[in-house]
Structure formats: structure tokens, C-alpha cells
């Protein structure tokens, strides 16, 4: 991929995410043709354009219902939704909650730069309380959104955080998330060199530590996932080995037959009271 074709700022955290994702997908035990990406709108949401897979780059906030539709229609496909924090947690917050609840095998990747990048730096749900920017000159007045804790209480069986500045770690986490059978959520800490002057590579490097393995206790996982400040854990917070994934129905190329319709017609009326 010609670097010049990529519409991100030089130094953007999306570049290492892209490179890692490309590697992970290439090495995945899944045929290239069977991988499908969905995304919304934002800088991160341009990701599928820079990877050699089928994709549906849809509307801001709506990557997840697209992914749900695809997965239900074609359980044979590996479906990954990748977008920004504004897209997944802001405009798309309702889908974030309810897609997790659907128990489908969908991977949700969030390039979390804690800001609306493409629209030039406004507060996103993950922006810290008190942060100032053009639309919040007095400082953001909202409690910062804790995406992984929300994912956990919404019932996500696989919840992880990684960092765009740690490709090795990203690689492991992304691979595991994609291979996990069920809705998996990965929040990727992504420095935005143009609009987030606080949460920089250096800032993260000072604070981040790797958790070696998932928590045994879900509430401990929630507590850790909420933690922010001097020490920021990365890694898999929670991985539910017992999770029962919903299996889609095979329908593609299995058409409704004329005899089936005739059978339905002979049944008593399906009528809603």
C-alpha cells in the first residue's frame, strides 16, 4: 500500500494499527476472501480502504449493525468492525451495547484517540473530564466513558486493551480477539498527533503496563478496565472460556423453494392478535 495514498497524518497511531492488523489478518488461519471488514466514518474508519479485504465502509456510527447483518447472513465469513471512539461509543453507542448482547462472533476494534479526529478535535465519549478543545473551550463536562467496563457489564466475553505504540502486544491481542468465538471488544489506545496533545505516545509509554493474563474475577476485570491515570493496564481483561456463541443459520444459496411456500400457504393463517 503506497503510504501516500493513506489519508492519515504522518505519525498517526492508525499507521501501526493498520500494519499490525494487516499482519494478523495475513497470518490468520482464514482465507483472505473470507474476511470482511466494516467501518463507520472517521479517520479510523478509513482503515478498510488500506487493507486487502472485502469491506463495507458505511455511515458514521453504524459499522456494527452492518457487521451483524453480514454475520447473520453469512456465518462463514470472519467479520471485523473497525472504527473510532466517536463512531463506536458516541454516534454508535446503542449498537455497541446491543451488538455485544447478540452473542455473535464479531470482532469490534476501536481506534481510540479520545477525540473526534476527522471533524477536527472535538470531545469524544472517551475524552477526559475537563479537557479543553474548540467546541469545549471551558473543558469537557462529561464523565469520561469507560468502554471496556461497559462492554463487560453488557456481557462481552472477550474484552481487551492494547496500544498503538506496542505492535507486538497489539499483534497478540488482535489475533486472539479475532480468533475468539463470540463478540470481542478491543480498545486500542491510539495517539492522535494532530488533536490530542495530552495522550501522546510518550504519555502512554510512561503509564502503560502489560497484564500477563486475563482476570479470573469479572469484577476485578471491571475495576482494572475502569482504571485510568498513572497506571494503565493493557492486555486481555476478560475472556470467558464458557461462552456459548450464537450460531447463524446457513441461508446463502439455500433458497426458499416453491414447495415450501406451498406448504406455508396450506397452514392456518399466521396472524398477530
Amino acid at each position: 500500500m503506497n503510504r501516500h495514498d493513506i489519508a492519515w497524518c504522518p505519525g498517526c497511531g492508525d499507521f501501526p494499527i493498520r500494519a499490525t492488523l494487516e499482519k494478523v489478518l495475513r497470518e490468520l488461519p482464514v482465507a483472505q476472501k473470507d474476511i470482511v471488514l466494516t467501518s463507520g466514518i472517521g479517520q479510523a474508519a478509513k482503515m478498510p480502504h488500506y487493507l486487502p479485504y472485502s469491506y463495507f465502509n458505511g455511515l458514521h456510527g453504524r459499522s456494527l449493525p452492518l457487521a451483524v447483518g453480514i454475520k447473520l447472513a453469512r456465518p462463514d465469513l470472519t467479520v471485523i468492525a473497525v472504527s473510532g471512539d466517536g463512531c463506536h461509543y458516541g454516534e454508535g453507542g446503542n449498537h455497541f451495547l446491543h451488538t455485544i448482547r447478540r452473542r455473535l462472533d464479531i470482532t469490534i476494534l476501536v481506534c481510540d484517540n479520545k477525540v473526534y479526529g476527522l471533524t477536527k478535535g472535538q470531545s469524544s465519549p472517551t475524552t477526559d473530564l475537563g479537557m479543553k478543545n474548540a467546541l469545549d473551550p471551558q473543558g469537557n463536562q462529561n464523565t469520561s466513558f469507560s468502554p471496556l467496563a461497559v462492554a463487560l457489564v453488557a456481557g462481552a466475553p472477550f474484552v481487551a486493551r492494547t496500544f498503538a505504540g506496542d505492535p507486538q502486544h497489539m499483534e497478540t491481542v488482535l489475533r486472539e480477539a479475532i480468533l475468539f468465538k463470540g463478540p470481542s471488544v478491543v480498545d486500542i489506545l491510539q495517539p492522535c498527533v494532530s488533536f490530542n496533545k495530552v495522550n501522546t505516545y510518550a504519555w502512554y509509554r510512561e503509564r502503560i503496563y502489560r497484564m500477563e493474563e486475563p482476570q479470573k474475577d469479572r469484577y476485578e476485570a471491571i475495576r482494572l478496565a475502569e482504571g485510568w491515570g498513572d497506571r494503565i493496564p493493557t492486555g486481555i481483561f476478560w475472556r470467558d472460556g464458557q461462552f456459548i456463541c450464537r450460531e447463524g443459520k446457513e441461508m446463502f444459496r439455500r433458497h426458499v423453494t416453491e414447495s415450501a411456500v406451498a406448504r406455508l400457504l396450506n397452514k392456518p393463517c399466521i396472524m398477530m392478535r
Binding site: 472485502s54 458505511g58 449493525p65 447483518g69 443459520k249 441461508m251 426458499v256 411456500v261 406455508l264 400457504l265
Partner: protein
């Protein structure tokens, strides 16, 4: 010779059961009938009423004539509201008689809900239905006993056989408008439906969830309507013919995704089952108030087609066609229905078509370009995972291979490509249907659910010596010049269930046709034949 009954009461008092049981037996006996209902947006209490018309010829509308029978399941409200419209000599079944039936149901069947079967038996007796035949088609033994008991009550109350109606429907099936649409969707190859409950669209969703165990289709209940249409687009992209069904308020939430379908050229069908707006309006009543909205829904410009069936037959055929058109032209296609059609149970004579429309999926090589610019505007469509061909879909303006572009020349060519589809769509537009004597100078114009009410009014007017004909638009967009043929010099009366005459304005804008008069109704009720005849008569002087 016909029979009109109204069964009223509070929500939950069993009127719907009477409608279901009676229409089922009427159908099995081979009667022509039509049933519809007015109900409130609540689960218990209030005032609902079901209206059933039985006749010796096909009927597909409320007659609007005085009732032959009024059944009041409640203590006062039905009597207060509807007894004044009982014809002289008509039968009134009030609280005392219902009480006796309930006592019987409780005593003999230990089940008060059997009252509905008793009433069914009573009504069958009133219309002079053959008792033996009715017994033969009853669903089970207790039903047979109850029907017989119902007849006994009819006899006891002197209501036995005063009307003598014969069953004259041939081979037929009975369907309400939503079942017809759902069936049409199946026949159009639809395999994926997403939706969020909303009256009067919910029963379309119910149909799909009910048949899903038997056929390869899936219904997904979305968290909201935004998700619903985006899910349908995802499923369509992945290879299934897909749809979303909702009512106006839910449709409002889908408009951004409608625009997405337009930009990404993803085939999809959306059914809008209209109810009176704005906002929550009258959630369980009928209106044709969303035409303008659906016609212009979504930002930006892209081709679309809108169907508005006027009968159960047309609901099947146009829903079926909708999927075919959406898929072949890669556009969003809309079906406008309304609570009236959705909740009206009708007899459909003749065979239901069972031929399923589908399209072979072409498979392409690695050089596949999803948005290849072609003369027809239609690009090759395939699905992910079938070959090396990557399917790249983008909501921004894009190159032929689906990458974001800001090339202004390409932008204009892509707009042209998408809009060029209109040429083909116009060529295969569904022509309106005509009814009555074409030489009449007055033409009643309708679209959507009013079709058969209008046609019966045409007949009634002709019987009075007033010459009118009618034209019905099952396809309301695009409108093409051939549709207007012969209409320019007619006196047009546009009949719509809305307050502003939306279709009449569209005729003006698209075909330059000016209607001389409009007959509008927007109180949440459907037209009746008698009501319409009266209004046409007033106009014609």
C-alpha cells in the same frame, strides 16, 4: 344480498377472536367476505370494533351501509356509538345476551373464551350458513359443539337465518395485507428481515419469525430502526435479498441508511406501513401521509422506486417485484402500505403464485470492480467470499473499485451513472390499472390501499346512472408519461387518505396532470363505499 356486522367492545374482550374464528369458517365454507378493524393504542379497555362483511360476490371494502347486526361485548360504549347505525330490523346483541353466552361458555365449556365460538355459531346461523357444512369445517370437537350451541341461541332469540347468503367464492385463500406483503417478499426471494416492533408493520415481522423454522429466512429484532436498515444492508451486501419493515416514525430513523443504500447501490426493500402522523399520531389507525416523505427520504440524490399495492393480489405481486427491482437495479425500493390494508382480511380468488424470483450470483476474478461505470448505470454485483474478487463498498463518493475519491470529474460521472438507472426503471414501470367505462369523463384517481373501495364506488355510481371510471397507481414513483395517456382531458378526482393531497401534487409535478377535485380523509379511518359515493356525488352535483 350481503351481511354487515360490527363487533365492538373493550380491548381484550374477545372481538378479535370472533373475527378470527368467523372468518376462518367463512373462508372454509367458501364465502366471500371482507373484515377489518378499528382499534386503540392500548392492550385492555378503550373501544375497539371489528367489521365483517359477507356477500355473494367478491367484496374488498366496507360498504358503509347500516349494520345488519351489532354485537356489543361491553356494557355501553358499543351500543352508544354503533347502535344508531344499525339498520331498521337489524339484530343487536347486547350485554344481556353476551352475558347469557358467557354463562353458557363457562357452564358447558368451563372456559369463558368459548363465547367467541358461540357468537360465531350464532352469526353463521343468522346468515343462513349450512349447519352441516359449518360443522364439517370446524377445527375440533369442542368447536363443533359450541357452534351448534351458538345456533341454538340464534334460534332462541329469533335470529335464525333471516339473511340467506350462499357461499360463492371458488378456490381461494384468505389473507390480510401484511401477510400478502410477507408472502410476496418470500416469493421475491427475500431471506433476511430486520425490524423493530411498530404498529402496523409488526405483523410482517411476525410472519418472518414464524416461518423461519421452516424456510431459510431469518428475522432479527434490531435495537432500533437505524440498526434494522443497516443490518438489512449488511445482509444484502453479504448476499441475501433483504428488507426492513416499519411505520413512519421508524422510517424516519432509517432515512440516513436509505441514502447509504442509494450511494453504495446496495439492493434493499423497505416497507412503510403508514399510520396517521405526525410523530406518534394515532398509532393504530390508518393514513396515507408518508408518500412525500418516502419519496424524498435520504439526503442527496439517487434513484428509487415506490410501490403502493391496492389489493392483496397486488401486495403479493408488487412486494415480489420490489425485491427483483431492488436487486437488478441495486437500489432501495419502497412499498407503501397502511394500517387499513395491513389489518384487512380479504378473500383472494385464484392461485397464489409460488414461483420464486431469483438471480444467479455471478463470480468474478481479482480485477472485479464493484462500481464499474456502465451504460445502464448498473455495475456487476457479487458478494464477498465467493472468489478472489474483493467487494469494496463505500459511503463516500468512490472510484470504480470502491475507494474514497475526491476527484470532481469522477464524482460527476458517478452521479450520472447512478441517476442513469432511472432510464431503465422508467421503461419497466408498472402501469396503473383502469376500471370502469373508459369513456366516462370523470376519473377517480387512487393509489395504495384505496383501490378496491374506489372500484366498488365506481360500480355503485354506475348503478345510479353516474358514469365514472377509475385509475389506480400501484407504482407511485417513478411516474412516466405513458401512465398519463388519455388522462389530460379527463376530469380527475384524486382520492387520498391524507390532508394535503400528496399524490395529486406529485401528478402535477411529474406528469403535468391537474386534478379538478380532491377527496381527502385524514381522521384515521378508511373510506367506505357509501361514504365515497356520497362525496363523489356531491362533487358531480
Amino acid at each position: 344480498m350481503e351481511f354487515n356486522v360490527l363487533i365492538g367492545g373493550e380491548a381484550g374482550q374477545g372481538m378479535f377472536s370472533v373475527e378470527l374464528e368467523l372468518t376462518e369458517i367463512l373462508s372454509r365454507l367458501g364465502y366471500h367476505f371482507f373484515a377489518t378493524k378499528n382499534y386503540m393504542s392500548r392492550i385492555r379497555g378503550g373501544h375497539n370494533y371489528h367489521m365483517i362483511r359477507v356477500a355473494e360476490r367478491p367484496v374488498h371494502a366496507l360498504s358503509g351501509k347500516p349494520w345488519d347486526m351489532v354485537v356489543a361485548m361491553d356494557s355501553a360504549e358499543t351500543e352508544r356509538r354503533h347502535r344508531p347505525a344499525l339498520r331498521e330490523g337489524g339484530a343487536f346483541i347486547g350485554a344481556d345476551r353476551i352475558g347469557q353466552l358467557e354463562a353458557e361458555a363457562t357452564k358447558t365449556f368451563q372456559d369463558v373464551t368459548v363465547t367467541s365460538t358461540l357468537l360465531t355459531g350464532l352469526i353463521l346461523s343468522f346468515i343462513g350458513a349450512d349447519p352441516a357444512a359449518a360443522q364439517a369445517v370446524a377445527p375440533d370437537e369442542p368447536a363443533r359443539t359450541a357452534l351448534a350451541k351458538g345456533r341454538e341461541f340464534a334460534a332462541r332469540w329469533g335470529l335464525e337465518g333471516p339473511r340467506s347468503l350462499s357461499p360463492k367464492a371458488g378456490d381461494h385463500c384468505k389473507l390480510d395485507g401484511n401477510q400478502a406483503l410477507a408472502l410476496g417478499a418470500l416469493l421475491g426471494g427475500c431471506q433476511f428481515v430486520a425490524g423493530y416492533p411498530m404498529t402496523p408493520a409488526t405483523s410482517i415481522l411476525h410472519y418472518f419469525s414464524a416461518v423461519a423454522p421452516e424456510v431459510p429466512v431469518h428475522f432479527e429484532q434490531a435495537e432500533d430502526e437505524i440498526a434494522a436498515l443497516n443490518m438489512a444492508l449488511g445482509a444484502s451486501f453479504a448476499g441475501l435479498r433483504s428488507m426492513a419493515a416499519t411505520s413512519g416514525g421508524g422510517f424516519a430513523l432509517m432515512t440516513e441508511a436509505v441514502s447509504l443504500a442509494g450511494m453504495t447501490e446496495t439492493p434493499v426493500v423497505v416497507i412503510d406501513a403508514q399510520r396517521p402522523g405526525p410523530a406518534t399520531g394515532l398509532p393504530t389507525r390508518t393514513e396515507q401521509g408518508d408518500l412525500d416523505f418516502v419519496l424524498h427520504a435520504g439526503h442527496g440524490e439517487f434513484p428509487r422506486v415506490i410501490f403502493a399495492p391496492g389489493s392483496v393480489e397486488e401486495a403479493i405481486s408488487l412486494a415480489r417485484r420490489a425485491f427483483d427491482v431492488a436487486d437488478r437495479w441495486q437500489i432501495p425500493v419502497f412499498v407503501l402500505t397502511d394500517q387499513y390494508l395491513a389489518d384487512s382480511v380479504q378473500v383472494m380468488e385464484g392461485r397464489v403464485p409460488t414461483k420464486i424470483l431469483r438471480r444467479e450470483t455471478p463470480v468474478f476474478g481479482a480485477g472485479y470492480r464493484r462500481y464499474e461505470i456502465t451504460d445502464s448505470g448498473v455495475s456487476p454485483l457479487t458478494y464477498p467470499g465467493l472468489s478472489e474478487a474483493r467487494v469494496e463498498i463505500d459511503s463516500d463518493e468512490h472510484t470504480e473499485d470502491g475507494k474514497i475519491t475526491e476527484d470532481i470529474g469522477l464524482r460527476a460521472r458517478m452521479v450520472d451513472k447512478r441517476l442513469r438507472k432511472f432510464e431503465g426503471l422508467r421503461q419497466e414501470a408498472v402501469m396503473p390499472t383502469r376500471f370502469g367505462d373508459r369513456r366516462a369523463t370523470t376519473v377517480l384517481v387512487s393509489w395504495g390501499s384505496n383501490r378496491l373501495i374506489v372500484n366498488e364506488a365506481v360500480e355503485a355510481l354506475r348503478a345510479e346512472g353516474i358514469a365514472v371510471s377509475s385509475i389506480h397507481f400501484g407504482q407511485v414513483y417513478p411516474l412516466t408519461p405513458p401512465m398519463a395517456r388519455g388522462l389530460a382531458r379527463k376530469r380527475l378526482i384524486c382520492i387520498e387518505n391524507n390532508a394535503t393531497g400528496q399524490f395529486e401534487r406529485l401528478l402535477r409535478r411529474e406528469l403535468g396532470l391537474k386534478a379538478a377535485h380532491r377527496i381527502l380523509q385524514y381522521n384515521g379511518e378508511c373510506f367506505t363505499v357509501a361514504g365515497l359515493v356520497e362525496r363523489v356525488r356531491k362533487i358531480l352535483g
